[in-house]
């Protein structure tokens, strides 16, 4: 045990005397984390969708007496980026993945929309897999939003007709232009007749006038009824000072895991290969330190350094959150739980880094190998679970996804214990497996 402490002290001194290297270990993954965070934030936000307009959508269509800017409604949709293109180009771009889906507006779309004798249809063709279904969800949201606006326009048009019936006058209902007396004037004239001395005229006129007053009152409420039945539940969006995306739970967890992954992989790989490059490993194995202890010492080193760096990064995030007055604040009381979990994650990445180092043997190759391993791990961590079998396998056998889940749960779950315990157990198993493989291959450093 004493020898492990001595070697840990030696490696700590190596890091302290190479501040630039240590800074690079921390800054580099953090920059990558922020860049990937940006990509994650914006790449999935507005998927590119081809728009094939067979109907030749007019700039506006008239619904009731109101001009409706249908083209702008589609093209300025927040949900997707609609790019107008020919049918052939759309097919090609869908095939090559440059667009994630193609939305086709059939020829009879505008006519059906004006007549409303039957619902006009839009046709969406998507690519296969998770991204296709994501685009379908986004398009459903877009069609819902357009429907909502059209619905309002139709309701306003219908209410115009109702108003014409109430007040009377000239107007158009459908294609027919007509002049009507209106409920109000009909009632007023009947009320005048109700004052007649002829009881045979006055009595029915009074009854009809009463009826028309009731109808007038009921028709007056049609607008509210129509609006209420069209939108039984309405979502009102309020903008308030929430967490910015850069400080969101997901991005914090992702940035921590990514920074830790790169730091630990590179440090683990370089720490073990440094022993070979300085030829000290040959001295150490002469009964001074067992190969198992050497591997364990490097894993512990990475776990300790990783925890310190994770603490610094978490405090940095926390300070920004507090300074910016972000709502919710930083959950400082969760920091010990987060760091305990991340120490295990760092050990797991470290063991993988040490394994990479023992396989590569020299530091240059080991660093390259660690980077080559690290990048796919990070990218696989972004892909949602269940997206594909290979990425699911990667998520299961490497520590990245577990580290993200752990950090996210430790920081923001209401009841984090079960998730943290599950992920820590998973990371411990991975640490032991990687360390066991590293112990098998560490002899390669002696030759």
């Amino acid at each position: 045990m004493k020898t492990v402490w001595l070697l840990l002290g030696n490696d700590a001194r190596r890091l302290r005397r190479s501040p630039l290297l240590l800074a690079a270990f921390v800054v580099y993954p953090l920059v990558i984390a922020l860049l990937v965070g940006l990509v994650v934030r914006y790449a999935g936000e507005r998927p590119r969708v081809g728009l094939v307009d067979r109907a030749g959508l007019p700039r506006t269509i008239v619904i009731g007496e109101r001009d409706f800017d249908l083209k702008r409604l589609f093209e300025e949709a927040a949900e997707v980026e609609l790019v107008r293109m020919s049918e052939e180009r759309a097919a090609l771009e869908l095939e090559t993945g440059r667009v994630l889906a193609v939305l086709t507006v059939p020829k009879d779309f505008s006519v059906k929309l004006r007549r409303l004798s039957e619902s006009p249809q839009l046709v969406l063709r998507t690519s296969e897999g998770a991204l296709g279904s994501r685009v379908a969800e986004k398009m459903s949201a877009l069609v819902y939003a357009v429907n909502l606006k059209l619905q309002k326009a139709y309701i306003e048009a219908n209410l115009g007709y109702v108003d014409l019936l109430r007040r009377g006058g000239s107007g158009q209902i459908g294609r027919e232009r007509l002049t009507v007396i209106g409920l109000r004037r009909a009632r007023e004239e009947l009320e005048a007749l109700a004052g007649s001395r002829d009881p045979e005229v006055a009595e029915p006129a009074r009854e009809l006038a009463t009826f028309l007053r009731q109808v007038e009152g009921a028709v007056g409420q049609v607008g509210d009824f129509l609006r209420a039945t069209a939108n039984p539940i309405e979502l009102r969006t309020e903008t308030r000072a929430g967490r910015t995306w850069a400080l969101s739970a997901q991005v914090q967890a992702y940035a921590l895991a990514l920074a830790l992954a790169f730091l630990a992989l590179l440090l683990g790989a370089s720490a073990i290969t440094a022993e070979r490059e300085e030829r000290t490993v040959s001295r150490l194995v002469r009964g001074l330190v067992s190969l198992s202890s050497l591997v364990a010492e490097k894993v512990v080193l990475v776990a300790v350094v990783g925890t310190v760096v994770a603490a610094v990064l978490s405090c940095g995030f926390g300070l920004v959150v507090e300074t910016a007055g972000v709502s919710g604040g930083q959950p400082w009381e969760r920091l010990p739980l987060l760091l305990a979990g991340l120490a295990v994650a760092a050990a797991s990445f470290g063991a993988l880094g040490v394994l990479a180092g023992t396989l590569a043997r020299n530091s240059g190759t080991a660093m390259l190998l660690a980077l080559l391993v690290g990048l796919p791990l990070a990218l696989a961590g972004i892909v949602p679970a269940g997206a594909s079998a290979p990425t699911d396998l990667l998520r299961a056998v490497v520590p990245f996804a577990a580290a993200v889940e752990l950090a996210s749960a430790a920081l923001y779950d209401q009841e984090p214990w079960a998730t943290v315990a599950e992920e820590v157990a998973r990371l411990l198993v991975l640490t032991l497996v990687f360390a066991a493989f590293a112990r098998l291959t560490v002899r390669r450093l002696l030759t």
Binding site: K2, L6, N10, R13, E278, R279, T280, S282, R286
Partner: protein, 218 residues
């Protein structure tokens, strides 16, 4: 016998670095290990030192086991540490009773700088002296020296041989790998000539030089 190789061999993949070899080191004995580059001298020393596991055969030690000091050909020390820190670290790892005193003694014996200057920044000669010093920590009974005079100036060489003679008189054994057999002619009692991983000659050092010349001629 303090240390012995019994049919020790080492292969790297299909390449034989050292064919099965027997060698014994006794007290007060200095053996010169002579041969051209790539002959297997460093491999044999590393095997005897326990720095490399043998592919076959075994390394035997006396009872109780003699303390073996190993000085590899190229410095095997930490570049980020000073000479003093290196000596102290290896003395501590060896669990010497008084690591600071042992490190201080070697620092003075080797005439190494006692500052905070990192080993990587030391001259090649000083790095080699530190390498030698680490091998001498703990006052070993057997010294395995791989080209110890490489990178040493003439006065350091002279001091090294004086030191070896003194150790020899105190009953220590040494196996010294060298290209230049004449270097250890006065000290060595025996020379072992290795060529392409095999022992081709064992005998007095003066005959070793002749054996090598003969081999070079053929």
């Amino acid at each position: 016998m303090l240390l012995a190789a019994r049919g020790v061999e080492r292969r790297f993949g299909r390449r034989v670095a050292l064919a099965p070899t027997d060698l014994e080191l006794r007290g007060s004995e200095l053996v010169a290990l002579v041969g051209p580059n790539g002959a297997g001298k460093s491999t044999l020393l590393a095997l005897l030192a326990g720095a490399l596991p043998p592919s076959g055969g075994r390394v035997e030690q006396s009872e109780p086991a003699a303390l073996v000091g190993w000085v590899p050909q190229r410095p095997a020390v930490y570049g980020h540490l000073s000479a003093w820190e290196n000596l102290l670290l290896f003395a501590s790892l060896q669990h010497l009773e008084r690591p600071e005193a042992a490190a201080r003694a070697i620092l003075e014996l080797m005439g190494l700088p006692d500052g905070s200057q990192r080993t990587a920044e030391l001259s090649v000669g000083n790095q080699q002296r530190l390498n030698l010093g680490v091998g001498l920590l703990g006052d070993p009974d057997v010294l395995l020296l791989d080209e110890p005079t490489a990178s040493l100036d003439p006065s350091s060489r002279r001091r090294l041989f004086e030191f070896l003679r003194e150790r020899q008189e105190r009953g220590c054994a040494a196996l010294v790998a060298t290209h230049v057999v004449e270097e250890v002619m006065g000290l060595a009692s025996k020379a072992v000539v290795l060529v392409e991983g095999s022992v081709v000659h064992v005998g007095p050092p003066d005959q070793a030089a002749a054996a090598i010349s003969e081999l070079e001629a053929t």
